[in-house]
Subunit: 627 residues, 2 copies
Amino acid sequence: MTAASPNGPNATVGPRSDLTAVFELAQQLRVDSVRASTSAGSGHPTSSMSAADLMAVLLARHLHYDWQRPDDPGNDHLIFSKGHASPLLYAMFHAAGVVSEEELLARYRRAGSRLEGHPTPVLPWVDVATGSLGQGLPYGVGVALSGRKLEHAPYRVWVLCGDSEMTEGSIWEALDKAGRYGLDNLTAIVDVNRLGQRGPTELGWDLEAYANRVEAFGCAALTVEGHDVAAIDKAFEYATQSERPTVILARTVKGQGFSEVADAEGWHGKPLPSEMAERAIGELGGVRRLTVRGHGPRPYQPPARPAAKEVRLPEFELGEKVATRSAYGKALAALGARPEVVGLDAEVGNSTHAEDFAKVYPGRYFQSYIAEQQMLATAVGLSVRGWRPYAATFAAFLTRAHDFIRMASVSRARLALCGSHCGVEIGADGPSQMGLEDLAMMRSVHGSTVLYPCDANATVALTAAMADLEGISYLRTTRGGYPVLYPAGEAFPVGGSKTPRSSADDRITLVGAGVTVHECLAAADTLASEGINARVIDVYSVKPIDADALARAAEQTGALVVAEDHRPEGGIGEAVLGALAERSVAPRFAHLAVRDLPASGTSAELLDAAGISRPHITDAARRLLSG
Amino acid sequence: MTAASPNGPNATVGPRSDLTAVFELAQQLRVDSVRASTSAGSGHPTSSMSAADLMAVLLARHLHYDWQRPDDPGNDHLIFSKGHASPLLYAMFHAAGVVSEEELLARYRRAGSRLEGHPTPVLPWVDVATGSLGQGLPYGVGVALSGRKLEHAPYRVWVLCGDSEMTEGSIWEALDKAGRYGLDNLTAIVDVNRLGQRGPTELGWDLEAYANRVEAFGCAALTVEGHDVAAIDKAFEYATQSERPTVILARTVKGQGFSEVADAEGWHGKPLPSEMAERAIGELGGVRRLTVRGHGPRPYQPPARPAAKEVRLPEFELGEKVATRSAYGKALAALGARPEVVGLDAEVGNSTHAEDFAKVYPGRYFQSYIAEQQMLATAVGLSVRGWRPYAATFAAFLTRAHDFIRMASVSRARLALCGSHCGVEIGADGPSQMGLEDLAMMRSVHGSTVLYPCDANATVALTAAMADLEGISYLRTTRGGYPVLYPAGEAFPVGGSKTPRSSADDRITLVGAGVTVHECLAAADTLASEGINARVIDVYSVKPIDADALARAAEQTGALVVAEDHRPEGGIGEAVLGALAERSVAPRFAHLAVRDLPASGTSAELLDAAGISRPHITDAARRLLSG
């Protein structure tokens, strides 16, 4: 069914169009949302229809964007925190003339299509992947932070949120930071359609309740009838002028525009069957062919970044006892000579030593307080604008942001993460503070690089290397001080390993990383005193791991002990086994890892209690050799 | 240095003592916090000193607790959300007469001690492990929920929070649910000492800002001078009478009572050196020997739980196409015949099918809305009171609660978790909704059980088995419907496996779980048509995994292909390699897993694109056999 648009076929809608035309655009977005999802046989038309007026007004009259040049630095940013409303987003792209009708109808949610079920940055107009609710707004805070504090750019950040996702704590971490950072360039638009996936939302249409929360968290709240284009227009105008970040709470109806589903339960995430879709399109006034010609980007020439100064990395003396977390801080401070490097903390910068960077570059250092999810989201948002964020907290507490790390990989974000205080090595603070699952978590992230140095010079080299890695890289650092094993300036290629001990007649290989390298070396000393030459391999690059060196050692020595300060699952031992299996090498094998629940104690006591200390490694080697 | 108490040595303090005596108790808690941490050489005395008056008033006059009978069902619950203030908590235990002075001074933070750096339930008076900030209050909500909605018990739940942790989104998820559930038996006490680990907190002493947030989230806020024992006493009295959950915002001074550190930066997490400790004890009036005799528990005889009805588990016909997520819902609804079983949802119960339980047992089903962290915390809190919570969401979104799952293992909690919509199998919704890292996450949890059934009858058996497992158990379910392979009533022991296809002359073993079992069977059919007999093993128990069956198959067939709908890291392939390495068996090996970033498509298209479908398994087998 095709109906002529009241504005005529092929009419354009823009800032000077009257609001009737904008309403027509909204109806077009609804119709196209229905058509795309019905054609795909899945998707969320009703969640798109509720927000169509909001997005039509934004697209035609308030968004500053050059659709042909999505990389224009002056472009506004539009993030669909409610990523399931992708039919609406793609209908907007169609209205903006960058996605054809054919693509919208024939490719949405199909294999190999860029019009995925939830938006990802394979589309040039999409900054970040969404679809895990409560994440788009936190990312928006990161992008807006860049605009206000780092770029001093004129762009605005618009985030469309669902009302269901307002129960995620991450939303409140985001609004708290938006208020604290004074991000007047950020507007969140909450589509309060009162219906979640399985029924009514917690707060329904109680806009006042939402507004009270928003205001208490330091942002300006504005309530609006979400299908009144004139009211919406005024609200956006207000938000643009506001000196605070603004949250527009729009009362909307799920499925608005089609009486058979409007405000009805049971229609979340369901495309309309073809006959219903026909009736919906009819009720919505038929298919339209409006094209949007909105505002172009505000003029903005990004200031030339100051030329990178020479990076003078710190150097440590052989034998000096240095904690790798301390070396991380010093290396990061040195890397600050590269103007794109930004430091992020979650209130433990004096422990992770991220604070060293803050002392030199306070303007490029952002405090998240204890809000690890927002720290990660800020990092993702900054990476959208080309910054190179380094975010650090305790390895254990990075688990708090696991879903954000996972989604950052879908966003193809480039991030450097550092987790300090790994393993039982931390000592008396006990298991709540021990990163014992972080390697499993970070290894399983798509495209990640996982690094775990055992000394200060390795840490420096790897911290520096992270600035040029694609994807999400992770550096695991240790609390206590251990002797420097490698000379300053030595190369530590990602994917490589070191062999600090070897001989022509090694009978066994001891594999460690971080603190267990030192334990392996001590065990090798003991074994040597018994006439057994042991090779020691430092797999500082846990992912990718040096399969060649491991396979060679396994073939040459025939026996291999892995000791790791981590749970047995998903860590170094399994990485080694995977690498050896790929090479079809199968040495005798022993795997020492933290198998029980640790408590308090000294580092040495806890390494020993966990069975990963030098005597345990020595014993395991002896058993393998006698077995 | 020992000073006589103004109330005489060995005096007792209790509800009828005057407030001067309560203040003396507070000073004792400070002195003992200083002594314990100085003696240990680590710990957080200043964070203990700020909250000492609050806890002295609570301990002497408001907490209803039989210290000799920590399992008394009428006991109040006290949770230190700021777990680093363990010196204060242990000083309270000492004052209550259940921890000796010798233990406090000689054992705190030592190896093998129950007085760990952060409290854990190895102590009988501790419900849950804390130390990852922002978690204690969410757990308190779970305990209070049990008291109000399930037990109708008279106990109160008191949670001591730090001010720094109020920036965690999880705190606001907790307060939102406390308000929504109307938990008038819950009192949170926020020790607003204005100093975090590395400097001033975000909101400093702005009690009004905190109060606005608390009220906006549906709880009553009360501000109080945190060193005025009379004012504190009144505030607790008010909270006890309040018809809403109450948050007492107490203005305090970090290091209160010792002028050299009071309100000073740089003293977080640092024990006082011995000489300073001496001066502190002097300024605090010396060592006291007060004993608390507070209120006993309110009389409460828990109602006898209704006798368990017979559990009539659902049964499915061989060959019937059923989604395992659907079987989970039906099994859970049947398990509801056991009165201790409770269901939890995070707004996706119609997708996970947890809703099936809600339909039969609405009174034992709690909606968390989209707040996965709080869903986990509620589960932990309910498990404290002996309930058997089953909490479900998409496998992908369980990563949101990773830190809570990790800490639940330190709490020795018994939980059943279900993650639906695992892997690329989900189809068109795309990677944001695909659980691809959940096996790595859940395997690395201490003491966890990880289950991944391929058919409906296996799902039923395993869902039922989870009710009797210790620790944290995890069931991974699939979106689409697949044929029932096993007869109803068949046993699926944890740690076992099934071999749905085998012969005396199998030349290769195909290992799968969940959807890939079906792919392996199809591949075995193809191979059989080529004259190659392939064994198929269904490792429905991923942790513990059936090392015997795998090793036997590897030895008998000499070649093994693992196919999994999960990232290659930390999943089934590595679990299999670990099991084989333990048995010193090394077959030729191929590992098919999801190595790229998936997009949208049908299940079949995506399994194929990921290289884990039947033709890929067949090819991998052929390659291994010809290699």
